[in-house]
């Protein structure tokens, strides 16, 4: 009872990366709280999945295995999960901030009248004192997220309602197998008691799932090029460095507007917001509109001919010089020194 739930999402029968990332984080939080980590999976043909979930620390694997759960539909998933939550009373439930998680987690929160915080970037256990009532709370889930277009960071708590629920985007948390695999004990969700015929009214007529397109949000290394790359031809160097380092290519708006690369790669206020482990800004001056989309990167390296470029204010390493000279050197010395 009062354990920590992670909703496990399936993509074409495989466990989504974001779910494994949440299990990794969930394991850490469950250890802090001294409770069990429980994975919840709903789908069709789930036998064997518990092994992988156990490797990522799931003590328990709750399963609803039936054709009505695949492909995902809002109402049966909501009903089954709400039923299980009322039965087991977890203190925390985590979801991926994917189209699926963002579709049905709000419904679960509405049905159970409990709070849900979207797109958290950090989850931490901590205490809380309510200023108004003077009441103290221990071991709450701090749900930390950017808001207001990334201009503020808010810490949200749900003091009086359970479960505490949060969604987290793919790539935000680290994915790592547990040091010691957990038991992964399979338990069956009593979904037939929870899902009614009226939950099956929405019919899926057709589904076309495409190959993953350009998506730089989840990349842990991003090599981004700006207008300072000079030309579409020179911009190829950005692609080369990204390929060698196993990263994705990003761009500033000026580079996209100049036609150096496609819009899907644009980082910043009018593009995507990224939080990679490493962000290499090549020929990017670093206007606020750009930095707002990447300033949460763990490490920033800037390459710019102007030693006073604004990007250098947020960079960990600022290399002053010509991108056309420096990028090939980075490729050369990376290849020489990596195994």
């Amino acid at each position: 009872m009062n354990n920590l739930f992670v909703y496990i999402e399936l993509e074409g029968g495989k466990i989504a990366d974001v779910s494994l990332e949440l299990l990794t984080k969930g394991r850490e939080l469950a250890d802090t709280l001294k409770v069990k980590l429980e994975a919840v999976v709903m789908g069709d043909g789930l036998a064997g999945l518990e092994k992988e979930l156990a490797r990522y620390g799931a003590d328990t694997v709750w399963i609803a295995d039936d054709a009505i759960f695949s492909p995902f539909r809002t109402l049966p998933h909501t009903a089954a999960l709400c039923g299980l939550i009322e039965q087991e009373k977890p203190q925390i439930v985590l979801f991926g901030a994917t189209p699926v998680g963002r579709d049905f987690a709000p419904r679960v929160s509405s049905a159970l009248h409990s709070g849900l915080t979207a797109d958290c970037t950090q989850l931490v256990i901590g205490d809380h004192n309510d200023v108004k009532s003077g009441k103290g709370y221990t071991d709450l889930l701090y749900q930390i997220r950017p808001a207001f277009g990334g201009n503020i960071i808010a810490t949200i708590v749900n003091p009086d309602h359970r479960p505490q629920m949060a969604t987290v985007r793919e790539g935000v948390m680290r994915k790592q197998e547990a040091a010691v695999p957990a038991a992964g004990e399979v338990k069956v969700i009593d979904w037939r008691s929870y899902v009614k015929d009226s939950d099956l009214v929405v019919k899926i007529v057709d589904r076309q799932i495409e190959e993953r397109k350009i998506d730089i949000k989840g990349a842990s290394i991003i090599v981004a090029g700006g207008y300072g790359m000079g030309s579409k031809e020179n911009f190829k160097l950005v692609y080369e460095l990204a390929e060698v380092l196993g990263g994705e290519v990003g761009a500033s708006r000026a580079a996209v507007d100049a036609g150096f690369t496609e819009h899907a790669r644009q980082v910043g206020q009018t593009g995507v917001t990224v939080r990679p482990k490493l962000y290499i800004a090549c020929g990017i001056s670093g206007q606020i509109q750009h930095t707002a989309g990447m300033d949460q990167s763990s490490m920033v390296i800037s390459i710019n001919s102007d030693p006073d470029a604004p990007i250098n204010k947020i960079a960990d390493y600022a290399i002053t010089g010509d991108v056309n000279d420096i990028i090939p050197k980075m490729i050369k010395y990376y290849k020489q020194n990596s195994k």
Partner: protein, 291 residues
């Protein structure tokens, strides 16, 4: 389907997308007052979907429902300029401090009173990006939902066939009405304001706006023509459980807000020399920053 009553859920939001230089304080934080209040972008996609349904369904009507301060009546007028028949403004201090759940509850109370056949909303608002209110309203009303809608494929007697945009593909679903549909930015953009409608509805007002300047020409016009009156409801008008409204009805509490300060930090300066670049790459490999 005939005579469908369509309600669009819309929100007036600060424009966080174009935070210009003047919108930042010298301390590097956001000057909220400098941000214009706009019609939430995806709610405009929702309005277009509602108006296109109205075009295709005989006798259909489109009304906008918004919760906010009195100035949010601006987006109702804007919607009327673009083709909406009218709107409802849910306003009052009881609603202040609402999180998404309390907001959904208040909206669901108003929707019960209106009794729509189809509820259309933008997927999410740009000031919070939570995408929660649509599904939460659907749950409160016990209605099915279709999220990330891109196009209405077919209108049947008692259901809608809708194409959804997923992250890596599309899905077509058939959903019975009444239902809640949330609309993606990839859906059709909203039609522009119509000059004749602007002339006809520029004096549309909520009752508090009329009361604020009762002798003005616009207020006298609005007071005399029901088509120009934006319905304004306070909490008591929608029969809510007060415990579920505003701050009291919000399970989530903001513990702390930190302004993101874009402050200078000391970068390690490197030259383009072979020696510097080699050292950097070795360091990045050693620290596992690079695999």
């Amino acid at each position: 389907m005939k005579n469908a009553k369509i309600v669009v859920l819309a929100k007036q939001v600060p424009d966080t997308r174009n935070v210009g230089k003047d919108a930042m304080t010298p301390e590097g934080t956001v000057n909220r007052a400098a941000l214009p209040a706009i019609f939430n972008p995806e709610d405009l996609n929702a309005l277009e979907m509602a108006l296109s349904l109205k075009d295709r369904i005989e006798g259909a009507t489109v009304h906008v429902l918004t919760m906010g301060p009195l100035r949010a009546a601006d987006i109702i007028r804007d919607a009327m300029f673009r083709g909406a028949d009218g709107g409802y403004l849910l306003s009052g201090r009881e609603f202040a401090g609402s999180d998404t759940l309390a907001t959904s509850y208040a909206l669901s109370c108003a929707l019960r009173k209106i009794g729509p056949d189809i509820i259309v909303a933008g997927r999410q608002a740009i000031d919070g990006d939570t995408a929660q209110v649509g599904p939460q309203v659907a749950e409160k009303l016990g209605l099915p939902q279709v999220t990330y809608a891109e196009r209405i494929v077919e209108i049947k007697e008692a259901s809608l066939v809708i194409k959804r945009r997923l992250e890596h593909g599309t899905e077509v679903v058939e959903c019975p009405v009444p239902a809640v549909v949330t609309v993606n930015a990839s859906a059709e953009a909203c039609r522009p304001r119509n000059a004749k409608r602007v002339m006809a509805f520029k004096c549309a007002m909520a009752k508090s706006e009329i009361a604020a300047a009762p002798e003005s020409e616009a207020a006298l016009r609005a007071a005399s023509k029901p088509a120009l009156q934006i319905v304004e409801w306070a909490a008591a008008d929608v029969d809510p459980d007060p415990q579920q409204l505003g701050l009291t009805g919000s399970p989530t509490k903001v513990k702390k807000i930190e302004n993101v300060v874009f402050q200078a930090k000391e970068a390690k300066r490197l030259t383009a020399s072979d020696c510097d670049i080699k050292e950097l790459m070795v360091e990045l490999i050693a620290s596992h920053t690079l695999g």
